[in-house]
């Protein structure tokens, strides 16, 4: 039976960039184990010869002509930003202390 440990949930949360609290880790780990156990029931249902479906439609790439069409103005594109500077998104520092 698959089980996710508290440490594993903490690692996954780190990968997903969410700072979970200790309480959240405590209740998420058992809940996720129950869900995983249930979804693991599909292992072995499909043989190796079954092709995977990623999409309901038989899609090929859709291209358009490379022409300029109306789009958002810089003001519109920046309108929802938490912080703006010189017509750009202003973000926290992206490098660590050691870098």
């Amino acid at each position: 039976m698959p089980e996710i440990s508290r440490d594993e949930v903490a690692h996954l949360a780190d990968l997903a960039r969410i700072d979970l609290t200790a309480e959240e880790l405590d209740h998420l780990a058992p809940q996720l184990s129950v869900i995983l156990e249930s979804v693991a029931s599909i292992s072995g249902v499909a043989g190796a010869d079954v092709p995977p479906t990623s999409h309901a439609l038989p899609l090929t790439n859709v291209f358009r002509d490379d022409v300029v069409t109306p789009s958002l103005t810089p003001e519109q594109a920046l309108s929802g930003a938490p912080e703006v500077e010189s017509q750009r998104f202003s973000v926290p520092r992206i490098l660590g202390d050691e870098q």
């Binding site: 949930v9 959240e24 979804v39 693991a40 309901a56």
Partner: protein
């Protein structure tokens, strides 16, 4: 209502004001809306009335007000997806379906409540509090589109838009006695829909009658170059199919009842109403066969691997950099990554975190083949089940949801029990086929609405409308009116009379 507008018996301003008044009167108790735009709706209504006087009606629904699920981008109106992480965000553009509503002259009343990022079956996962079922305010209105379904069934809006990833239009419709349609995947543009799971999401109508859904579907459907998964084929014949079905003649139509969607866990009263609805269709000349879709029992597990996988990557865009919430953690000069982590911790609710972690797990190296890879293969088997079933029957039938509305809070701490609500609706999303839910009556145990689900092959949405309209007409004849006529009035007055849009 469109007919009354045509006949000059009312105006769009009067209609819109009447719905705004109804919202003021009952939405404190129902909480279907996250944002009401009275001023904007009345201005659009006045413009509609002016067009009508000038003889330039823009569409069959010009002037009929509508509510829009808060997962669809609306230029100038807040769009939160039921999440704190988007609180106060005002999109600088319209979703294609919203643009089409505006072009067709429908005043937009406001934005409706939903489970956060459409993850849920009860609307209890909204960061802004749950919506209440108009039939019993202590119960859930379904989800994730509980706000749209409640608005329509509480007469706060004659029409609404929803989105359906695993049943979020059809299940709320079933438990609120309204009509909800998930179109064929690719039939309606997803541009401007904040994606939950791109390969499953579809926008569709929520209404009080099947014909209203057909009219609205034709308005919002059709090819959109801004959505690369949009099908490049005309959408039509839906209104005609609904009118044909309403005649109550189903001679030559083969209906298949899905064996796997009944049995243990299905409420007796829901099954009783389902059987009666099937009998009514047979009485109208339909031929009934039982069909087996053996892989449907694996649909739920398949869905809860594919959906979190897609959702975890979709929701990565909420990174506190370009829009939405930004939370600074304690400490000196935190990095972008630390800000992102603190923001997502503060901005996302429990269910969203659960699914992001589950999706991250399913996509991790070492587990990818065992979980996501296997789920994609089972998805193929489910599509093959549909293909085989549609060789035996023109449409497939099941109850829309296994139970009627449950009490608020009943399943909040048991995610797996919550997921089971979507047992019957999920297969259609995995295969991309269309489905409709129409009211099948009230369950004996609790007097609450149940739904009949009708599924058709991809691009054969017209069959859903034909059989759906037939079921609606035949059952209304038995009941002496629409099911919603029997809904509680909520404002202490006499019960309402269902009015079609």
């Amino acid at each position: 209502m469109a007919a009354a507008l045509d006949a000059g018996e009312t105006t769009s301003v009067a209609l819109t004001q009447a719905h705004l008044d109804r919202i003021s009167a009952v939405d404190g108790a129902v909480h279907a809306f996250l944002h009401v735009d009275a001023e904007g709706a009345l201005a659009q209504a006045a413009a509609s009335d002016a067009r009508r006087s000038a003889g330039q009606v823009a569409s069959p629904l010009d002037g009929v007000p509508i509510a829009v699920k808060d997962v669809l981008a609306t230029d100038g109106l807040p769009t939160t997806c039921g999440s704190k992480i988007l609180e106060g965000w005002v999109p600088p553009y319209d979703a294609t379906v919203v643009r089409r509503l505006r072009a067709a002259g429908l005043p937009i009343l406001g934005k409706t409540n939903m489970d956060e990022f459409a993850m849920g079956s009860s609307t209890e996962h909204s960061a802004y509090g749950p919506t209440h079922n108009p039939w019993d305010l202590g119960r859930i209105p379904g989800g994730s589109g509980g706000g749209s379904a409640a608005a329509v069934s509480a007469y706060e809006a004659p029409l609404a838009l929803g989105t359906d990833t695993g049943g979020s239009i059809r299940q709320p419709a079933a438990v609120t006695g309204s009509v909800g349609v998930k179109p064929t995947y690719g039939g309606v543009s997803r541009y401007g829909l904040v994606a939950l799971a791109n390969s499953l999401d579809q926008v569709g109508p929520v209404t009080r009658t099947v014909l209203d859904s057909a009219i609205l579907h034709e308005l919002i459907g059709g090819h959109d170059p801004l959505d690369s998964t949009s099908i490049d084929a005309p959408v039509g014949g839906l209104v005609a199919a609904a009118r044909q079905g309403a005649q109550g003649d189903l001679s030559g139509v083969r209906i298949g009842v899905i064996t796997e969607l009944s049995g243990d866990g299905w409420q007796d009263g829901v099954m009783a109403r389902f059987t009666e609805a099937v009998d009514a269709l047979v009485g109208a000349g339909a031929e009934v066969v039982e069909v087996s879709c053996p892989h449907f029992v694996h649909a739920l597990a398949t869905y809860y691997l594919i959906l979190p996988a897609e959702a975890s990557s979709n929701l990565a865009k909420f990174d506190a950099m370009r829009y939405g919430l930004r939370v600074w953690p304690e400490g000196d000069a935190p990095s972008a990554e630390e800000v992102m982590k603190a923001t997502r911790e503060a901005g996302f609710g429990d269910e969203v975190k659960r699914r992001i972690i589950l999706g991250t797990y399913a996509l991790s190296s070492g587990y990818y083949d065992a979980y996501y890879g296997t789920a994609q293969k089972v998805r193929t088997l489910i599509s093959r089940d549909f293909e085989a079933a549609f060789e035996q029957a023109d449409v497939l039938l099941s109850p829309t949801a296994p139970t009627t509305a449950f009490p608020l809070g009943a399943k909040l701490d048991d995610p797996l029990a919550m997921y089971l609500n979507d047992l019957a609706t999920i297969p259609a999303n995995l295969a991309g086929v269309p489905g409709i839910s129409v009211p099948s009556g009230l369950a004996d145990e609790d007097g609450l609405p149940a739904g009949l689900q009708i599924l058709a092959p991809a691009l054969a949405d017209d069959r859903c409308y034909r059989v759906g309209a037939a079921a609606e007409a035949l059952l209304a004849e038995q009941w002496g009116g629409l099911l919603l006529d029997r809904a509680p009035s909520l404002d202490g007055g006499a019960d309402g009379e269902a009015v079609s849009a």
